[in-house]
Symmetry: C2
Subunit: 248 residues, 2 copies
DNA sequence: CACGCGCATTGACGCAGATCAACCTGGCCG
DNA sequence: CGGCCAGGTTGATCTGCGTCAATGCGCGTG
Protein backbone atom coordinates (compact mmCIF):
# COMPACT_ATOMS: atom_id res chain seq x y z
CA UNK A 1 0.00 0.00 0.00
CA UNK A 2 2.50 2.54 1.20
CA UNK A 3 4.56 1.24 -1.68
CA UNK A 4 2.22 2.38 -4.34
CA UNK A 5 1.58 5.93 -3.26
CA UNK A 6 3.77 8.98 -3.31
CA UNK A 7 6.55 7.40 -5.24
CA UNK A 8 6.46 9.62 -8.27
CA UNK A 9 5.38 12.79 -6.63
CA UNK A 10 8.80 13.00 -5.00
CA UNK A 11 11.17 10.82 -6.96
CA UNK A 12 14.14 11.14 -4.66
CA UNK A 13 15.52 8.72 -2.10
CA UNK A 14 14.15 10.53 0.90
CA UNK A 15 10.63 10.11 -0.36
CA UNK A 16 11.29 6.88 -2.17
CA UNK A 17 9.09 4.03 -0.98
CA UNK A 18 11.89 1.54 -1.33
CA UNK A 19 13.69 3.27 1.47
CA UNK A 20 11.97 0.98 3.95
CA UNK A 21 14.14 -1.99 3.14
CA UNK A 22 16.58 -0.97 0.52
CA UNK A 23 20.02 0.45 0.21
CA UNK A 24 19.45 4.00 1.33
CA UNK A 25 17.92 3.12 4.69
CA UNK A 26 20.90 4.41 6.65
CA UNK A 27 22.32 6.99 4.27
CA UNK A 28 23.02 10.55 5.35
CA UNK A 29 22.01 13.49 3.20
CA UNK A 30 25.34 13.66 1.39
CA UNK A 31 25.12 10.01 0.39
CA UNK A 32 21.50 10.41 -0.56
CA UNK A 33 22.50 13.22 -2.87
CA UNK A 34 25.06 11.02 -4.55
CA UNK A 35 22.56 8.18 -4.86
CA UNK A 36 20.11 10.65 -6.32
CA UNK A 37 22.54 11.52 -9.12
CA UNK A 38 22.76 7.95 -10.36
CA UNK A 39 19.14 7.04 -9.84
CA UNK A 40 16.45 6.62 -12.45
CA UNK A 41 13.14 4.82 -12.85
CA UNK A 42 12.22 2.16 -15.38
CA UNK A 43 8.79 0.80 -16.24
CA UNK A 44 7.88 -2.54 -17.73
CA UNK A 45 4.66 -4.03 -19.00
CA UNK A 46 3.24 -7.30 -17.78
CA UNK A 47 5.02 -10.18 -19.50
CA UNK A 48 8.02 -8.12 -20.50
CA UNK A 49 11.47 -9.53 -19.86
CA UNK A 50 13.48 -7.24 -17.61
CA UNK A 51 16.78 -9.12 -17.86
CA UNK A 52 17.94 -12.15 -19.80
CA UNK A 53 20.18 -14.57 -17.99
CA UNK A 54 23.72 -13.85 -19.17
CA UNK A 55 23.00 -10.22 -20.02
CA UNK A 56 25.49 -7.64 -19.00
CA UNK A 57 23.74 -5.69 -16.29
CA UNK A 58 24.53 -2.02 -15.98
CA UNK A 59 22.24 -1.30 -13.07
CA UNK A 60 21.08 -2.48 -9.69
CA UNK A 61 17.81 -1.48 -8.12
CA UNK A 62 14.63 -2.24 -6.25
CA UNK A 63 11.09 -3.03 -7.19
CA UNK A 64 8.85 -0.07 -6.52
CA UNK A 65 5.55 -1.54 -7.61
CA UNK A 66 4.43 -4.66 -9.43
CA UNK A 67 5.76 -8.19 -9.39
CA UNK A 68 8.55 -9.95 -11.22
CA UNK A 69 9.85 -13.51 -11.22
CA UNK A 70 13.35 -14.83 -11.30
CA UNK A 71 13.70 -18.07 -13.26
CA UNK A 72 16.22 -20.55 -14.54
CA UNK A 73 15.67 -22.66 -17.64
CA UNK A 74 17.28 -25.89 -18.83
CA UNK A 75 18.04 -26.41 -22.51
CA UNK A 76 15.08 -28.74 -22.91
CA UNK A 77 12.75 -26.08 -21.60
CA UNK A 78 12.17 -27.21 -18.04
CA UNK A 79 12.04 -24.08 -15.92
CA UNK A 80 12.33 -23.42 -12.22
CA UNK A 81 11.45 -20.18 -10.58
CA UNK A 82 14.11 -19.31 -8.02
CA UNK A 83 12.72 -16.12 -6.64
CA UNK A 84 9.76 -13.82 -6.53
CA UNK A 85 10.34 -10.08 -6.58
CA UNK A 86 7.83 -8.01 -4.69
CA UNK A 87 7.91 -4.26 -3.97
CA UNK A 88 11.05 -3.28 -2.02
CA UNK A 89 13.01 -6.37 -3.18
CA UNK A 90 16.46 -5.74 -4.51
CA UNK A 91 17.68 -6.80 -7.96
CA UNK A 92 21.24 -6.95 -9.10
CA UNK A 93 24.66 -8.21 -8.23
CA UNK A 94 27.09 -5.49 -7.27
CA UNK A 95 30.57 -6.59 -8.27
CA UNK A 96 29.28 -9.03 -10.87
CA UNK A 97 29.01 -8.42 -14.56
CA UNK A 98 26.38 -10.79 -15.82
CA UNK A 99 22.87 -11.66 -14.74
CA UNK A 100 22.44 -15.22 -13.51
CA UNK A 101 18.72 -15.59 -14.14
CA UNK A 102 15.89 -14.39 -16.28
CA UNK A 103 13.82 -11.67 -14.69
CA UNK A 104 10.30 -11.31 -16.07
CA UNK A 105 7.60 -8.87 -15.08
CA UNK A 106 4.36 -10.72 -14.29
CA UNK A 107 2.46 -7.51 -13.82
CA UNK A 108 3.14 -3.94 -14.80
CA UNK A 109 6.35 -3.13 -12.99
CA UNK A 110 8.26 -0.06 -11.88
CA UNK A 111 11.85 -0.31 -10.77
CA UNK A 112 14.05 2.23 -9.04
CA UNK A 113 17.52 1.74 -10.54
CA UNK A 114 21.01 2.95 -9.81
CA UNK A 115 23.70 2.94 -12.49
CA UNK A 116 25.97 0.09 -11.50
CA UNK A 117 29.50 1.46 -11.87
CA UNK A 118 28.99 4.58 -9.78
CA UNK A 119 26.90 2.58 -7.34
CA UNK A 120 29.81 0.23 -6.81
CA UNK A 121 32.13 3.16 -6.34
CA UNK A 122 29.81 4.58 -3.73
CA UNK A 123 29.81 1.18 -2.06
CA UNK A 124 33.60 1.21 -1.82
CA UNK A 125 33.57 4.34 0.26
CA UNK A 126 30.37 3.82 2.21
CA UNK A 127 30.69 0.75 4.46
CA UNK A 128 27.10 0.58 5.55
CA UNK A 129 25.83 0.22 2.00
CA UNK A 130 27.80 -2.99 1.55
CA UNK A 131 26.62 -4.09 4.98
CA UNK A 132 23.04 -3.35 4.09
CA UNK A 133 23.39 -5.34 0.87
CA UNK A 134 24.98 -8.17 2.82
CA UNK A 135 21.98 -8.28 5.14
CA UNK A 136 19.58 -8.30 2.20
CA UNK A 137 21.57 -11.03 0.47
CA UNK A 138 21.57 -13.10 3.66
CA UNK A 139 17.78 -12.72 3.74
CA UNK A 140 17.57 -13.95 0.18
CA UNK A 141 19.87 -16.83 0.99
CA UNK A 142 17.68 -17.84 3.91
CA UNK A 143 14.62 -17.65 1.69
CA UNK A 144 16.31 -19.72 -1.02
CA UNK A 145 17.31 -22.40 1.47
CA UNK A 146 13.89 -22.44 3.04
CA UNK A 147 12.60 -23.02 -0.45
CA UNK A 148 15.01 -25.90 -0.97
CA UNK A 149 13.23 -27.71 1.85
CA UNK A 150 9.91 -27.03 0.18
CA UNK A 151 11.14 -28.31 -3.19
CA UNK A 152 13.00 -31.33 -1.87
CA UNK A 153 10.79 -32.71 0.84
CA UNK A 154 7.26 -31.39 0.77
CA UNK A 155 4.21 -32.95 -0.87
CA UNK A 156 2.24 -31.10 -3.53
CA UNK A 157 -0.39 -30.02 -1.02
CA UNK A 158 2.24 -28.76 1.42
CA UNK A 159 3.99 -26.93 -1.39
CA UNK A 160 0.84 -25.05 -2.34
CA UNK A 161 0.13 -24.20 1.29
CA UNK A 162 3.72 -22.97 1.71
CA UNK A 163 3.44 -20.70 -1.30
CA UNK A 164 0.12 -19.27 -0.18
CA UNK A 165 1.60 -18.73 3.29
CA UNK A 166 4.61 -16.86 1.90
CA UNK A 167 2.54 -14.63 -0.33
CA UNK A 168 -0.09 -14.09 2.33
CA UNK A 169 2.46 -13.28 5.00
CA UNK A 170 4.39 -10.95 2.77
CA UNK A 171 1.25 -9.19 1.72
CA UNK A 172 -0.05 -9.01 5.26
CA UNK A 173 3.17 -7.65 6.72
CA UNK A 174 3.16 -4.88 4.16
CA UNK A 175 -0.32 -4.02 5.36
CA UNK A 176 0.67 -4.51 8.98
CA UNK A 177 -2.09 -7.05 9.40
CA UNK A 178 -1.88 -9.60 12.22
CA UNK A 179 0.02 -12.79 11.55
CA UNK A 180 -2.86 -15.10 12.42
CA UNK A 181 -6.57 -15.29 11.83
CA UNK A 182 -8.20 -14.15 8.60
CA UNK A 183 -6.06 -13.03 5.68
CA UNK A 184 -7.07 -11.86 2.23
CA UNK A 185 -4.86 -11.33 -0.79
CA UNK A 186 -4.59 -11.60 -4.56
CA UNK A 187 -2.45 -14.30 -6.12
CA UNK A 188 0.11 -12.53 -8.28
CA UNK A 189 0.84 -15.70 -10.26
CA UNK A 190 -0.85 -17.89 -12.84
CA UNK A 191 -1.21 -21.60 -12.08
CA UNK A 192 1.68 -22.23 -14.42
CA UNK A 193 3.95 -19.76 -12.64
CA UNK A 194 3.00 -21.34 -9.32
CA UNK A 195 3.93 -24.72 -10.78
CA UNK A 196 7.30 -23.37 -11.89
CA UNK A 197 7.93 -22.04 -8.43
CA UNK A 198 6.96 -25.29 -6.74
CA UNK A 199 8.50 -27.82 -9.09
CA UNK A 200 5.07 -29.19 -10.05
CA UNK A 201 2.86 -29.23 -13.12
CA UNK A 202 0.06 -26.75 -13.53
CA UNK A 203 -2.50 -29.55 -13.39
CA UNK A 204 -1.26 -30.67 -9.99
CA UNK A 205 -1.34 -27.08 -8.76
CA UNK A 206 -4.92 -26.71 -9.93
CA UNK A 207 -5.96 -29.96 -8.27
CA UNK A 208 -4.33 -29.13 -4.94
CA UNK A 209 -5.74 -25.61 -4.88
CA UNK A 210 -9.17 -27.13 -5.46
CA UNK A 211 -8.51 -29.64 -2.67
CA UNK A 212 -7.51 -26.93 -0.18
CA UNK A 213 -10.67 -25.05 -1.14
CA UNK A 214 -12.82 -28.16 -0.76
CA UNK A 215 -11.30 -28.77 2.69
CA UNK A 216 -12.00 -25.21 3.83
CA UNK A 217 -8.37 -24.18 4.23
CA UNK A 218 -8.88 -21.40 1.71
CA UNK A 219 -11.78 -19.70 -0.04
CA UNK A 220 -11.63 -18.42 -3.59
CA UNK A 221 -13.38 -15.49 -5.21
CA UNK A 222 -12.62 -15.92 -8.87
CA UNK A 223 -9.34 -17.61 -9.74
CA UNK A 224 -6.98 -15.24 -8.04
CA UNK A 225 -8.56 -13.66 -4.99
CA UNK A 226 -7.82 -15.78 -1.93
CA UNK A 227 -9.25 -15.68 1.57
CA UNK A 228 -7.52 -17.65 4.31
CA UNK A 229 -9.98 -17.94 7.19
CA UNK A 230 -7.35 -19.28 9.60
CA UNK A 231 -3.74 -18.55 8.84
CA UNK A 232 -2.34 -20.95 11.43
CA UNK A 233 -4.34 -23.75 9.79
CA UNK A 234 -2.63 -22.88 6.52
CA UNK A 235 0.78 -23.05 8.22
CA UNK A 236 -0.12 -26.48 9.55
CA UNK A 237 -0.98 -27.61 6.05
CA UNK A 238 2.36 -26.23 4.92
CA UNK A 239 4.10 -28.48 7.45
CA UNK A 240 5.53 -25.56 9.40
CA UNK A 241 5.29 -24.97 13.09
CA UNK A 242 2.92 -22.08 13.55
CA UNK A 243 5.45 -19.39 14.46
CA UNK A 244 8.83 -20.23 12.96
CA UNK A 245 9.87 -20.97 9.45
CA UNK A 246 9.22 -19.35 6.12
CA UNK A 247 11.43 -16.34 6.14
CA UNK A 248 11.28 -13.66 3.42
CA UNK B 1 45.26 -30.96 -0.58
CA UNK B 2 46.88 -27.59 -0.09
CA UNK B 3 44.20 -27.13 2.52
CA UNK B 4 45.41 -29.84 4.78
CA UNK B 5 49.03 -28.93 5.12
CA UNK B 6 50.74 -26.11 6.91
CA UNK B 7 47.73 -24.70 8.64
CA UNK B 8 48.89 -25.20 12.20
CA UNK B 9 52.55 -24.61 11.68
CA UNK B 10 51.77 -20.95 11.11
CA UNK B 11 48.36 -20.14 12.59
CA UNK B 12 48.16 -16.58 11.34
CA UNK B 13 46.20 -15.21 8.41
CA UNK B 14 49.17 -14.82 6.10
CA UNK B 15 49.87 -18.52 6.25
CA UNK B 16 46.28 -19.56 6.74
CA UNK B 17 45.01 -21.79 3.98
CA UNK B 18 41.59 -20.20 4.02
CA UNK B 19 43.14 -17.01 2.78
CA UNK B 20 42.52 -18.21 -0.77
CA UNK B 21 38.83 -17.45 -0.63
CA UNK B 22 37.96 -16.09 2.72
CA UNK B 23 37.71 -12.79 4.48
CA UNK B 24 41.34 -11.85 4.78
CA UNK B 25 42.09 -12.07 1.07
CA UNK B 26 42.54 -8.32 0.66
CA UNK B 27 43.53 -7.28 4.17
CA UNK B 28 46.64 -5.21 4.84
CA UNK B 29 49.02 -6.09 7.64
CA UNK B 30 47.27 -3.91 10.18
CA UNK B 31 43.92 -5.52 9.52
CA UNK B 32 45.49 -8.95 9.54
CA UNK B 33 46.90 -8.21 12.98
CA UNK B 34 43.47 -7.26 14.23
CA UNK B 35 41.94 -10.38 12.69
CA UNK B 36 44.69 -12.38 14.32
CA UNK B 37 43.68 -11.14 17.76
CA UNK B 38 40.16 -12.46 17.47
CA UNK B 39 41.00 -15.68 15.66
CA UNK B 40 41.03 -19.20 17.08
CA UNK B 41 40.72 -22.75 15.82
CA UNK B 42 38.10 -25.32 16.70
CA UNK B 43 38.13 -29.04 15.98
CA UNK B 44 35.18 -31.38 15.67
CA UNK B 45 34.89 -35.13 15.32
CA UNK B 46 32.99 -36.82 12.54
CA UNK B 47 29.30 -36.82 13.35
CA UNK B 48 29.53 -34.01 15.85
CA UNK B 49 27.05 -31.16 15.65
CA UNK B 50 28.83 -27.84 15.15
CA UNK B 51 25.76 -25.63 15.50
CA UNK B 52 22.12 -26.29 16.26
CA UNK B 53 19.59 -24.32 14.31
CA UNK B 54 18.41 -21.51 16.58
CA UNK B 55 21.64 -21.43 18.61
CA UNK B 56 23.11 -18.11 19.45
CA UNK B 57 26.28 -17.96 17.39
CA UNK B 58 29.22 -16.08 18.83
CA UNK B 59 31.59 -16.68 15.95
CA UNK B 60 31.98 -16.66 12.20
CA UNK B 61 34.65 -18.59 10.37
CA UNK B 62 35.82 -20.82 7.58
CA UNK B 63 36.33 -24.52 7.14
CA UNK B 64 40.04 -25.33 7.15
CA UNK B 65 39.82 -29.07 6.62
CA UNK B 66 37.10 -31.68 6.64
CA UNK B 67 33.49 -31.50 5.53
CA UNK B 68 30.29 -30.34 7.16
CA UNK B 69 26.68 -30.26 6.06
CA UNK B 70 24.05 -27.64 6.51
CA UNK B 71 20.57 -29.07 7.02
CA UNK B 72 17.01 -28.13 7.80
CA UNK B 73 14.58 -30.49 9.51
CA UNK B 74 10.79 -30.54 9.69
CA UNK B 75 9.04 -31.56 12.89
CA UNK B 76 8.16 -34.95 11.48
CA UNK B 77 11.80 -35.67 10.77
CA UNK B 78 12.03 -35.03 7.05
CA UNK B 79 15.35 -33.36 6.43
CA UNK B 80 16.80 -31.39 3.56
CA UNK B 81 20.45 -30.55 3.21
CA UNK B 82 20.76 -26.95 2.04
CA UNK B 83 24.50 -26.67 1.77
CA UNK B 84 27.75 -28.54 1.80
CA UNK B 85 30.72 -26.96 3.53
CA UNK B 86 34.09 -27.79 2.04
CA UNK B 87 37.50 -26.34 2.95
CA UNK B 88 37.56 -22.54 2.50
CA UNK B 89 33.77 -22.20 2.79
CA UNK B 90 32.51 -19.55 5.13
CA UNK B 91 30.13 -20.18 8.03
CA UNK B 92 28.23 -17.56 9.90
CA UNK B 93 25.92 -14.62 9.60
CA UNK B 94 27.53 -11.34 10.50
CA UNK B 95 24.88 -9.06 11.88
CA UNK B 96 22.59 -11.93 12.82
CA UNK B 97 22.20 -13.50 16.21
CA UNK B 98 20.88 -16.96 15.61
CA UNK B 99 21.88 -19.82 13.38
CA UNK B 100 19.31 -20.73 10.74
CA UNK B 101 20.36 -24.33 10.14
CA UNK B 102 22.01 -27.31 11.75
CA UNK B 103 25.66 -27.67 10.90
CA UNK B 104 27.05 -31.17 11.30
CA UNK B 105 30.58 -32.42 10.71
CA UNK B 106 30.54 -35.43 8.42
CA UNK B 107 34.24 -35.97 8.79
CA UNK B 108 36.79 -34.74 11.28
CA UNK B 109 36.64 -31.00 10.90
CA UNK B 110 38.81 -27.99 11.68
CA UNK B 111 37.39 -24.51 11.57
CA UNK B 112 39.15 -21.18 11.67
CA UNK B 113 36.88 -18.90 13.69
CA UNK B 114 36.68 -15.22 14.50
CA UNK B 115 34.81 -13.95 17.55
CA UNK B 116 31.69 -12.42 16.15
CA UNK B 117 31.29 -9.09 17.98
CA UNK B 118 34.79 -7.81 17.27
CA UNK B 119 34.58 -9.22 13.77
CA UNK B 120 31.48 -7.15 13.15
CA UNK B 121 33.21 -4.09 14.55
CA UNK B 122 36.12 -4.68 12.21
CA UNK B 123 33.62 -4.97 9.38
CA UNK B 124 32.15 -1.56 10.21
CA UNK B 125 35.46 0.13 9.64
CA UNK B 126 36.86 -2.02 6.84
CA UNK B 127 34.68 -1.73 3.74
CA UNK B 128 36.32 -4.45 1.73
CA UNK B 129 35.56 -7.09 4.36
CA UNK B 130 31.84 -6.48 3.99
CA UNK B 131 32.30 -6.43 0.23
CA UNK B 132 34.17 -9.71 0.34
CA UNK B 133 31.44 -11.26 2.44
CA UNK B 134 28.86 -9.91 0.04
CA UNK B 135 30.64 -11.61 -2.86
CA UNK B 136 30.81 -14.88 -0.96
CA UNK B 137 27.16 -14.63 0.00
CA UNK B 138 26.21 -13.95 -3.61
CA UNK B 139 28.14 -17.10 -4.55
CA UNK B 140 26.19 -19.08 -2.01
CA UNK B 141 22.96 -17.59 -3.24
CA UNK B 142 23.79 -18.60 -6.80
CA UNK B 143 24.62 -22.09 -5.60
CA UNK B 144 21.40 -22.32 -3.62
CA UNK B 145 19.35 -21.22 -6.62
CA UNK B 146 21.17 -23.57 -8.92
CA UNK B 147 20.26 -26.27 -6.46
CA UNK B 148 16.61 -25.22 -6.53
CA UNK B 149 16.57 -26.15 -10.21
CA UNK B 150 18.09 -29.52 -9.36
CA UNK B 151 15.54 -30.18 -6.62
CA UNK B 152 12.53 -28.92 -8.48
CA UNK B 153 13.01 -30.13 -12.02
CA UNK B 154 15.62 -32.83 -12.41
CA UNK B 155 15.10 -36.61 -12.44
CA UNK B 156 16.80 -38.85 -9.90
CA UNK B 157 19.54 -39.79 -12.36
CA UNK B 158 20.18 -36.16 -13.24
CA UNK B 159 20.26 -35.25 -9.57
CA UNK B 160 22.94 -37.83 -8.82
CA UNK B 161 24.98 -36.73 -11.82
CA UNK B 162 24.63 -33.09 -10.73
CA UNK B 163 25.88 -33.88 -7.25
CA UNK B 164 28.83 -35.89 -8.54
CA UNK B 165 29.64 -33.05 -10.92
CA UNK B 166 29.61 -30.46 -8.15
CA UNK B 167 31.80 -32.50 -5.85
CA UNK B 168 34.10 -33.57 -8.65
CA UNK B 169 34.48 -30.04 -9.97
CA UNK B 170 35.07 -28.58 -6.57
CA UNK B 171 37.62 -31.24 -5.73
CA UNK B 172 39.29 -30.92 -9.10
CA UNK B 173 39.53 -27.14 -8.99
CA UNK B 174 41.23 -27.37 -5.61
CA UNK B 175 43.77 -29.67 -7.19
CA UNK B 176 43.96 -27.50 -10.30
CA UNK B 177 43.02 -30.44 -12.46
CA UNK B 178 41.52 -29.83 -15.90
CA UNK B 179 37.77 -29.34 -16.10
CA UNK B 180 37.20 -32.14 -18.60
CA UNK B 181 38.43 -35.67 -19.16
CA UNK B 182 39.22 -38.06 -16.32
CA UNK B 183 38.47 -37.04 -12.74
CA UNK B 184 38.95 -38.99 -9.52
CA UNK B 185 37.63 -38.13 -6.07
CA UNK B 186 36.23 -39.51 -2.84
CA UNK B 187 32.58 -39.07 -2.00
CA UNK B 188 32.42 -37.21 1.29
CA UNK B 189 28.83 -38.29 1.90
CA UNK B 190 26.93 -41.43 2.81
CA UNK B 191 24.11 -42.51 0.54
CA UNK B 192 21.69 -41.17 3.10
CA UNK B 193 23.37 -37.75 3.16
CA UNK B 194 23.31 -37.70 -0.64
CA UNK B 195 19.60 -38.49 -0.49
CA UNK B 196 19.04 -35.61 1.94
CA UNK B 197 20.88 -33.28 -0.37
CA UNK B 198 18.93 -34.38 -3.43
CA UNK B 199 15.46 -34.75 -1.99
CA UNK B 200 15.44 -38.51 -2.65
CA UNK B 201 15.49 -41.69 -0.59
CA UNK B 202 18.71 -43.53 0.02
CA UNK B 203 17.44 -46.53 -1.95
CA UNK B 204 16.88 -44.40 -5.02
CA UNK B 205 20.34 -42.90 -4.64
CA UNK B 206 21.86 -46.36 -4.44
CA UNK B 207 19.98 -47.56 -7.50
CA UNK B 208 20.91 -44.55 -9.61
CA UNK B 209 24.54 -44.69 -8.61
CA UNK B 210 24.52 -48.34 -9.66
CA UNK B 211 22.86 -47.39 -12.93
CA UNK B 212 25.46 -44.71 -13.72
CA UNK B 213 28.14 -47.28 -12.97
CA UNK B 214 26.48 -49.91 -15.15
CA UNK B 215 26.27 -47.36 -18.00
CA UNK B 216 29.95 -46.48 -17.73
CA UNK B 217 29.41 -42.87 -16.68
CA UNK B 218 31.33 -43.52 -13.46
CA UNK B 219 33.54 -46.26 -12.03
CA UNK B 220 33.58 -47.19 -8.37
CA UNK B 221 36.41 -48.51 -6.23
CA UNK B 222 34.69 -49.48 -3.01
CA UNK B 223 31.61 -47.48 -2.06
CA UNK B 224 33.14 -44.04 -1.94
CA UNK B 225 36.03 -43.72 -4.37
CA UNK B 226 34.73 -42.45 -7.71
CA UNK B 227 36.38 -42.25 -11.12
CA UNK B 228 34.71 -40.21 -13.83
CA UNK B 229 36.28 -41.25 -17.12
CA UNK B 230 34.69 -38.39 -19.08
CA UNK B 231 33.58 -35.36 -17.13
CA UNK B 232 31.64 -33.80 -20.00
CA UNK B 233 29.63 -37.02 -20.27
CA UNK B 234 28.75 -36.61 -16.60
CA UNK B 235 27.63 -33.02 -17.23
CA UNK B 236 25.39 -34.25 -20.03
CA UNK B 237 23.83 -36.75 -17.67
CA UNK B 238 23.29 -33.90 -15.22
CA UNK B 239 21.31 -32.04 -17.86
CA UNK B 240 23.79 -29.16 -18.00
CA UNK B 241 25.40 -27.70 -21.04
CA UNK B 242 29.02 -28.75 -20.86
CA UNK B 243 30.53 -25.41 -19.88
CA UNK B 244 27.94 -23.35 -17.99
CA UNK B 245 25.91 -24.10 -14.94
CA UNK B 246 26.65 -25.51 -11.54
CA UNK B 247 28.40 -22.70 -9.84
CA UNK B 248 30.18 -23.13 -6.47
C1' DC C 1 -23.89 -12.23 -30.62
C1' DA C 2 -20.48 -15.72 -31.79
C1' DC C 3 -15.88 -16.55 -31.99
C1' DG C 4 -11.28 -17.15 -30.40
C1' DC C 5 -7.92 -17.17 -26.95
C1' DG C 6 -5.61 -17.49 -22.55
C1' DC C 7 -6.19 -19.54 -18.37
C1' DA C 8 -8.13 -23.00 -15.39
C1' DT C 9 -10.41 -27.37 -14.16
C1' DT C 10 -11.24 -32.22 -14.26
C1' DG C 11 -10.72 -37.07 -15.64
C1' DA C 12 -8.21 -41.39 -17.08
C1' DC C 13 -4.03 -43.59 -17.11
C1' DG C 14 1.03 -44.61 -16.60
C1' DC C 15 5.36 -44.31 -14.46
C1' DA C 16 9.29 -42.59 -11.51
C1' DG C 17 10.43 -42.86 -7.24
C1' DA C 18 8.77 -44.07 -2.35
C1' DT C 19 8.03 -47.79 0.71
C1' DC C 20 8.77 -52.19 2.82
C1' DA C 21 11.74 -55.88 3.27
C1' DA C 22 15.52 -59.09 2.67
C1' DC C 23 20.29 -59.60 2.26
C1' DC C 24 25.21 -58.27 1.56
C1' DT C 25 29.75 -56.35 2.99
C1' DG C 26 33.49 -54.69 5.57
C1' DG C 27 35.31 -52.93 9.80
C1' DC C 28 35.52 -53.15 14.78
C1' DC C 29 35.67 -55.28 19.22
C1' DG C 30 35.35 -58.86 22.76
C1' DC D 1 37.88 -66.17 15.36
C1' DG D 2 32.87 -64.91 15.37
C1' DG D 3 29.39 -61.70 16.17
C1' DC D 4 27.70 -57.28 15.55
C1' DC D 5 26.35 -53.25 13.31
C1' DA D 6 26.48 -49.24 10.21
C1' DG D 7 26.28 -48.54 5.62
C1' DG D 8 24.98 -50.26 1.19
C1' DT D 9 22.51 -53.05 -2.44
C1' DT D 10 18.67 -55.15 -4.57
C1' DG D 11 13.88 -56.82 -5.20
C1' DA D 12 8.66 -56.42 -4.99
C1' DT D 13 4.97 -53.52 -4.56
C1' DC D 14 2.49 -49.18 -3.96
C1' DT D 15 1.28 -44.39 -4.89
C1' DG D 16 1.66 -39.39 -5.82
C1' DC D 17 2.31 -36.85 -9.35
C1' DG D 18 3.10 -36.37 -14.37
C1' DT D 19 1.05 -36.90 -18.88
C1' DC D 20 -2.43 -36.63 -22.22
C1' DA D 21 -6.81 -35.11 -23.38
C1' DA D 22 -11.35 -33.07 -23.07
C1' DT D 23 -14.13 -29.35 -21.17
C1' DG D 24 -15.22 -24.91 -18.86
C1' DC D 25 -14.97 -20.07 -18.09
C1' DG D 26 -14.27 -15.14 -18.65
C1' DC D 27 -12.99 -11.54 -21.66
C1' DG D 28 -11.89 -8.79 -25.55
C1' DT D 29 -12.74 -8.25 -30.51
C1' DG D 30 -14.79 -8.48 -35.15
Amino acid sequence: MLQDTLSFATPDCSGCPIRHRAVCARCDSDELARLEEIKYYRSFEAGQTVIWSGDRMDFVGSVVSGIATLTQTMEDGRTQMVGLLLPSDFVGRPGRDGAAYDVVATSDLVMCCFRKKPFEQLMETTPHIAQRLLQMTLDELDAAREWMLVLGRKTAREKIASLLAIIGRRDASIQSAPMSGRIVFDLPLTREAMADYLGLTLETVSRQVSALKRDGVIELQGKRHVTVPDFSRLLEEAGDDADGGLLV
